[in-house]
Amino acid sequence: MSAVMDAVGALPPRTGDRVIQFREALREAMSEEMRNDERIFLLGEEVAQYKGAYKVSEGMLEEFGPKRIIDTPISENGFAGLAIGAAMYGLKPIVEFMSWSFSLVAADQILNNAPKMLYMSGGQWGCPAVFRGNDGAGGQLGSTHSWCVEALYANVPGLKMAIPSCPYDAKGLLVTAIRDPDPVFFLESERMLGDKAHVPEEQYAIPFGQAYKHREGDACTLVSFGRPVNFCLEAADELATDGIEVDVLDMRTIRPLDIDSIIESVKKTNRIVIVDQSWPFAGIASEVMAQVCERCFDWLDHPPVRVTTDDVPTPYSKVLEQAYLPNAGKIVKAVKGAL
């Protein structure tokens, strides 16, 4: 499958003047699906009365009532397991983790149960649940609250994982996630919830496993997902001032991974820089790198390059956290080093 640049199929235009926040795009996806399908309900800490810790579910309690928008006790393992049981008997839960960092206490339910139910029951009980929440460094939240769970969790077969980088994709991918019959891990970023961009009013579903090509160029392939895609675009602007044009690919989903689009781009540029806002060891960037080496080694004119964080727990201090995370400057340097 080729990475798409423009709207394909029935997808509405990405540009326009209906500018809303990332969090509103998420809310629109959930609310419209809930209007059309009463099997869907939202549960999590603070999602009802408090409108969500990050106000993603504002107005949803008023519209759908307390039977469908459910405040839970602080019990991630509990409500994740409850959702799995409900999904096994015909409902479609959306579980909000205030942070994916807190999902670690629910690891057995979300990793050892949700993705295996269908398999272990010989196809009888699937788990059409969406688990969503903030992932990655939120800005001085300290090491225990700044988890990037994608590498750890994407290792498990049976689940799907989407990581949007902008409001348009957030809405379209969340719609797909909710309609999907398998468990979907949907990773948002606290740092992007206030980002504003055009989002079509209509409901649209972006297919999983299809990268989006934000920018075209032949000097290097720049691949990322989630928040750092935005750093890649900044970097690409800067590189362009030096006459360096790069392909910028937003993977959008990690599981399934649109590796074909990456390979296609590498065969054109012969260079790849992978940007991942998590640790270098056994990360998503490592996986992309491994597959690139297996599938188009002979096309590479430079070893694949990763831009990741340092291999340390996320620092608490503002300056140290900034130094730890990928940014446009590091990406520019990495691309130039690969040329």
């Binding site: 009463e38 509990g78 799995i84 049981g85 409900a86 799907k160 297996e294």
Partner: protein, 385 residues
């Protein structure tokens, strides 16, 4: 200010048919009819034989690890029968020591053997039978039971579907009551007012760890009472007591949307599983005392006292059990082995292209999985520059 009592609980313990086959008429009236008691005695005997054959199958290499149910048949019989009679169609969410409750509610008997023979098709439950596959990780499944109970309530209240009398019952042991999942399941059932029954078979041993080392509490059931849930203890080797407390719990769940915790006090007469040898850590005197409390012995004595049972009937039953179980073993062993492409089935609701490719080629993109390296050649040389 004077001190006041913030909270006080009393927990009933129910015993109707004791180990000497004394029957408490005041509590036992209106529980199981004679024909039902006979039926359950027969079922327990068949399942005991099934258990012994399963043990032998393992010992002769025809089956994997198996956890014997021996000694705990009455808890499964009384509870399973109450569900069958008063709340048919309810969800049963088992661990692995309540085979009879599952059989009473429609699970074909070869399924359990098939499961322990290492065939996941043993987990395929026939349509219309609301039983989840047996759960081996300890205590993770009561959360699913709470989720199913939530779904029952949600479908009734939001989607306006008929619930009939359906409830959800989960089975687990004293060992599982130390797991956080079980406590979260209880908390949710209580906070969300769910039609759920938690049935803890306290067989006094979590593999080799006795109850005295597992918890500081006098009973298991008092843990549930901390969540504001009704709790009751019952003699788990007494089909009448188990039937009664489960029937009451069904009413509470179905009519009042209130969960119940039942602690069935019983004993694991056998080893934890066939991979265990309990003689290494249990006092033989303790085991002997519990052999005398065997549910089969007391139920038979009770039936004999009431002239409902005889030596002839016993002989006939044992012959029937042998024949039945032998046929069940044949059924389980007669199922064709799965083919290797079955590995990929049911990974997702719809198999993605990548999984289909792996199934068709039997290798991933990892070159080491593909000695011929056709994938590599195809990718690198076809379009080499």
């Amino acid at each position: 200010m004077p001190k006041r009592i913030a909270y006080k609980i009393e927990i009933e313990s129910i015993s109707i048919l004791d180990e000497h086959a004394n029957f408490d008429e005041s509590l036992g009236a209106g529980t199981l009819r004679d024909d039902e008691a006979v039926f359950l005695y027969e079922q327990m005997t068949i399942v005991r034989h099934y258990d012994e054959i399963a043990f032998k199958l393992q010992r002769s290499g025809r089956m994997g690890t198996y956890p014997q149910n021996k000694g705990q048949e009455a808890a499964a019989a009384g509870a399973g029968f109450a569900i069958k009679k008063h709340a048919p169609g309810s969800w049963l969410v088992p661990c692995y020591r309540e085979n009879l409750a599952l059989f009473l509610n429609g699970l074909p008997m070869e399924k359990i053997l098939l499961h322990w023979m290492g065939d996941e098709r043993g987990n395929q439950i026939p349509d219309g039978v609301n039983i989840l596959p047996i759960s081996i990780p300890i205590g993770t499944h009561p959360l699913h039971a709470s989720g199913l109970a939530w779904s029952l309530k949600y479908r009734e209240r939001v989607m306006k579907e008929a619930r009939d009398n359906s409830v959800v019952i989960s089975f687990f042991g004293d060992g599982a009551s130390s797991e956080g999942d079980v406590h979260e399941a209880m908390n949710f059932a209580s906070a969300l007012k769910l039609p759920a029954i938690f049935l803890c078979q306290n067989n006094r041993w979590a593999i080799s760890v006795p109850i005295s080392k597992q918890m500081g509490s006098e009973t298991v059931v008092q843990k549930a009472c901390a969540y504001g849930m009704h709790g009751v203890q019952a003699d788990g080797n007494d089909i009448f007591a188990m039937y009664k407390v489960t029937r009451d719990a069904i009413e509470r769940a179905s009519n009042d949307m209130k969960p119940t915790f039942i602690e069935a006090v019983t004993y694991r007469l056998g080893d934890h599983t066939t991979a265990d040898d309990a003689r290494r850590y249990r006092d033989p005197k303790e085991v002997e005392a519990w052999f005398n409390k065997d549910p089969l012995i007391r139920t038979r004595k009770y039936l004999e006292k009431k002239n409902l049972w005889s030596a002839d009937k016993q002989t006939a039953l044992e012959a029937k059990a042998k024949e039945m179980v032998s046929q069940i073993v044949k059924n389980a062993e007669g199922i064709a082995k799965p083919t290797s492409d079955d590995i990929f089935d049911y990974t997702f609701a719809t198999l993605p292209d990548e999984i289909i490719r792996q199934r068709d080629t039997m290798h991933t993109h990892s070159l080491g999985q593909n000695p011929s390296q056709e994938t590599l050649n195809a990718h690198t040389h076809a379009g080499a520059r």
